[in-house]
Subunit: 245 residues, 6 copies
Amino acid sequence: MRILVVNVNTNESVTEDIARAARQAASAGTEIVALTPRFGSESVEGNFESYLAAVGVMDIVMAYNETFDAVVQAGFGEHGREGLQELVNVPVIDITEAAAHLAMMLGYRFSIVTTLQRTVPQILDRLRVAGVLEHCASVRATGLSVLELAEDPARTCRVVVNEAMKAIRNDQAEVICLGCGGLAGLDQMVADEAGVPVVDGVGAAVGLAETLVRLGLSTSKIGAYASPLPKARTGWPIPRGDVAP
Amino acid sequence: MRILVVNVNTNESVTEDIARAARQAASAGTEIVALTPRFGSESVEGNFESYLAAVGVMDIVMAYNETFDAVVQAGFGEHGREGLQELVNVPVIDITEAAAHLAMMLGYRFSIVTTLQRTVPQILDRLRVAGVLEHCASVRATGLSVLELAEDPARTCRVVVNEAMKAIRNDQAEVICLGCGGLAGLDQMVADEAGVPVVDGVGAAVGLAETLVRLGLSTSKIGAYASPLPKARTGWPIPRGDVAP
Amino acid sequence: MRILVVNVNTNESVTEDIARAARQAASAGTEIVALTPRFGSESVEGNFESYLAAVGVMDIVMAYNETFDAVVQAGFGEHGREGLQELVNVPVIDITEAAAHLAMMLGYRFSIVTTLQRTVPQILDRLRVAGVLEHCASVRATGLSVLELAEDPARTCRVVVNEAMKAIRNDQAEVICLGCGGLAGLDQMVADEAGVPVVDGVGAAVGLAETLVRLGLSTSKIGAYASPLPKARTGWPIPRGDVAP
Amino acid sequence: MRILVVNVNTNESVTEDIARAARQAASAGTEIVALTPRFGSESVEGNFESYLAAVGVMDIVMAYNETFDAVVQAGFGEHGREGLQELVNVPVIDITEAAAHLAMMLGYRFSIVTTLQRTVPQILDRLRVAGVLEHCASVRATGLSVLELAEDPARTCRVVVNEAMKAIRNDQAEVICLGCGGLAGLDQMVADEAGVPVVDGVGAAVGLAETLVRLGLSTSKIGAYASPLPKARTGWPIPRGDVAP
Amino acid sequence: MRILVVNVNTNESVTEDIARAARQAASAGTEIVALTPRFGSESVEGNFESYLAAVGVMDIVMAYNETFDAVVQAGFGEHGREGLQELVNVPVIDITEAAAHLAMMLGYRFSIVTTLQRTVPQILDRLRVAGVLEHCASVRATGLSVLELAEDPARTCRVVVNEAMKAIRNDQAEVICLGCGGLAGLDQMVADEAGVPVVDGVGAAVGLAETLVRLGLSTSKIGAYASPLPKARTGWPIPRGDVAP
Amino acid sequence: MRILVVNVNTNESVTEDIARAARQAASAGTEIVALTPRFGSESVEGNFESYLAAVGVMDIVMAYNETFDAVVQAGFGEHGREGLQELVNVPVIDITEAAAHLAMMLGYRFSIVTTLQRTVPQILDRLRVAGVLEHCASVRATGLSVLELAEDPARTCRVVVNEAMKAIRNDQAEVICLGCGGLAGLDQMVADEAGVPVVDGVGAAVGLAETLVRLGLSTSKIGAYASPLPKARTGWPIPRGDVAP
């Protein structure tokens, strides 16, 4: 099967990290196609950029010319999943929700360790809307921006473990979710240090996408995620020439 | 004071209806500037179009060259308010939330009467995220699309009253909110028929915007709605030439 | 328009402070009539006194002989708003709810800074009943009683700012509400110190009352707040001669 | 032990019905003293009258000259319990909460059958504030006023059973609570007809009061229900001479 | 009346402590029969042992040959109450829920002080399922195992008081519940030290059982707790010979 | 990998149905070992039998002599998952929760169609405890017992579709979950009739178990699901000789 894994920012190197994590999680026989939006921000930290990302992700998925079996939206806490569900007929999995779903099966409470404090409310809202907030012990910020994460992986791991330990000790978390697509790949190191299961949303989403595809399940089209009605739209699809890389 | 009232679809005639309702609600001395997005869909019914609207609204507000004191986002149940709050320093009021806030002061439970059934979950999510879902008795759909609303005002009023009466009798609603920017102007007629207060979100939002401006209050910039960090963005602002009216 | 702003305690000097804040918030053309109950306690700190206040407020409003367009109940976290809504046909706004409604439009989470710790549960209950608790980060007590607030305004401002900063740092509040009618007037000073929007309930309630009146909206009378049925009552209205100061 | 059972309206014949139900539920050795407020309304149906009742109940309890071991507030869904808890050192039991507490131990969901529809929101709020709303399936109104209940006991029983059956069939209630002090005494008849346990709040409250007294438990005075601070009050206690029948 | 008070572990000395507490709480004329399961664990700390206890308690109650009027399940936070309710026709009271019900009538928030941290989530789940979690401020663990509690009563009391004080100061608890059947008997000592009401679940449950019996109330059999259907079962009832001490 | 799929009743033919569904859902290379408890009831319909099942499942898993990579508990709405998580180090997936997790990714609201009405509250409680109740539109009973399901598959399918259509029309469900292990295999037929995705918990759980194993994730052992402490237990493990098939 082919799974589209879509970065939410325009940064190709983040796309590569995500692709690597996705491929590592995928079963034999699953092809991972990683996409980078041609519209949006070089990193997504906050609602403005997240709304750009929602459109950028929908655009790049619609521009993909070949068949695919599922889509993974690889931004943590970002907007847009519901729109994508309307546009395609295959399963759409958001990495935030995927991480939360798996974490809930692994312990009584999970915490999320993310980037900047300003993104915390948005993550909480996305968990709330998805109905998976109840067992979330906390969302904790490291203070590192998305782009700083890659600068010094050792430091990144250290600060993530540091917040993870606070989540475990102060918030009674029993499982940690990595709260940024750019943290994909750190799960094992953090798990070794923190002594609890660590869920990376990209791997979680790939696994869930594979499961849904194997079970022949996809989005219900009778209600919230019915296909859009045909009507006039301006500026959509995003004109190709103008948004060249 | 000057309030920008921003339609969420690209339909100028809906913008005019909204502008009329906004001006009727405004105090003497308040200037209403009505804006139509240059990016998006001719009507917004569902998440895909709503995410386009989020970007279209942010774009047209950022393209506005003069000063303003508040922004009203005039789409019912649409995404985007949080992004706009990051981009501007003046108060941003969403008509969905505005209607709910006022309705909560007028009765024990309110119901919303909206367009198509497919928009109901999205409206519920927006109320939930805004923290104003608790006293919502129901969100009921008339089955009329946004563009059908204007075709036959008498029929529109009739079906809105019909759903309002069901909300009152079956869901114990004591107040009705008109759940579409395109319904602005029907509030008095529906109130007369239904015998309960009817809140139009556009008027509600204009009133709340004026109140915040008069009190010198605006969005907190220390957390969720801090200004975006400076960074590279692709395709943003939306190029002017390509999205001609 | 004429708005009755009703103190909940029998202390005329608190009434004057409230009136001043109300007048400062009111639009040109709005007349503020400030009332002091002739039944009740010199300050309201707890449920017993708050229930007296509920009756004292209803009594003094019913004793008012001229027409009015709205009523503001100017006690923070007090009982009684629902009773008043039954008795009059104009909008009734409680300052607790008014502050919360506006605060929710200004940031992701708000905190309330109030007087004594003993009043905190009651404030929480009133927010819960009004359906505006969800985005409340905390209710924090300064330890100052209502009557101590006025003794040393500089100290009062200092301790309010102190609790506001704890709410911001520990509880992730982004907006502060002044949790006592007697704090009206401190909003700007606290905002300057704390760096976040500060909502005074009296001003908020006056603004919301004006908005409702302008929009022609008032309490729904078909359910929870229908007019009382005619029946025999003992001791009500409170006899004038016997409750002289 | 001596338990004060306090009616919330000024109607002596309702007090007698309540006293009868209380005595029937009491253990040997428990003395029931039934009190009628000297301030308030001949029946309590709505918030205005309920706030009068809150004060009327506090007044008549404070006017009681002898010792007592517990107080039962015998109005369904009424305000005031928290104030009474501040004023006395013995346990205070509200019949609404008492009924809900016992009902929760008898089945998965309980419903309340009460008088007029207008009282339903208030009952819901009182259950919410007391933290016992979660397992409440519904609050259903018979349409009979408090005073009509006594006019034709056979009809009253019939309409109560009728609503009880709807609660069982439509709302999945497994237990019924009688939602008015004036329904005390009908529990056995309704139970026989409806085939489920029926809880009368007055009996429930007497039983719970006895239990607390026997266990040596009373209201915590360190927080929400601490004794009122000494301060000047106007019109309180309610002057005796002036409120004679 | 005769109340069966059933320990959840196989430790006879804990049964004796529980019996003593039950008898102290019982009214004159109430006979307490204390039972020890013949299947299960010597102490119950966690879900595995708690599920054994659920079966052990049902087994020993079904093996009891004489009549009885109520059953008290004397394990804090344990599974099983719902099964027992299906098997018998008399009231079944769980000490966790009993403590919470009484605590809710005594203060705004209660905390539970229990044994090991690992039992906290299970207690929270049992409160949630019973619908009595809302006013629970916290569940705090002493770190002492069930069997350590009895080793040094002075130390036990000290650490319980210590956690109680943290609950009062940090979590705003106003009432403390002893969170283990093995703590029965310490309530008065802890109350004296902590200055708040302390509820022992065993006493609470006995009182509530007596109340229900006196009121003629028992479990509704029309829904969740209907009697089991007749069918083949393997290994049940638990064979007597094989599980001898 | 090897996954143990454990029936909750003692009925071998139900085990075979479950095994078939599990094998159909499993990836190539996954071995399904289906186990039937040697303790418990021939069908599980209610809490008493569900608590027996909890012990029966733990027993048969502990008696399994070879290695395994995950356990699926194949009873819908049954107790016991948390105990099993303490006893083993591999992932434990309950089919109720598995179905809900997948359903939440496929539509806005899901409904469950199950056997007897009496099992509905227990299913609701298990969803609540697992934190996946929020998007559950309803749990609907067909009125068929577990053993009747297999008697006439055509009738079973018909009544399941019938309740599914009610869930879709009346409760706004967009996805249906089959609420009984014995319904495994009907998913495609029901989906074809109802026009929405239908999730069978057994397949869902096998897919989720595979995903967790592939990602190297298992239950956190630092808190709620830590291994049981060593201590004396009576009657456990369940003696082999006495509970012969």
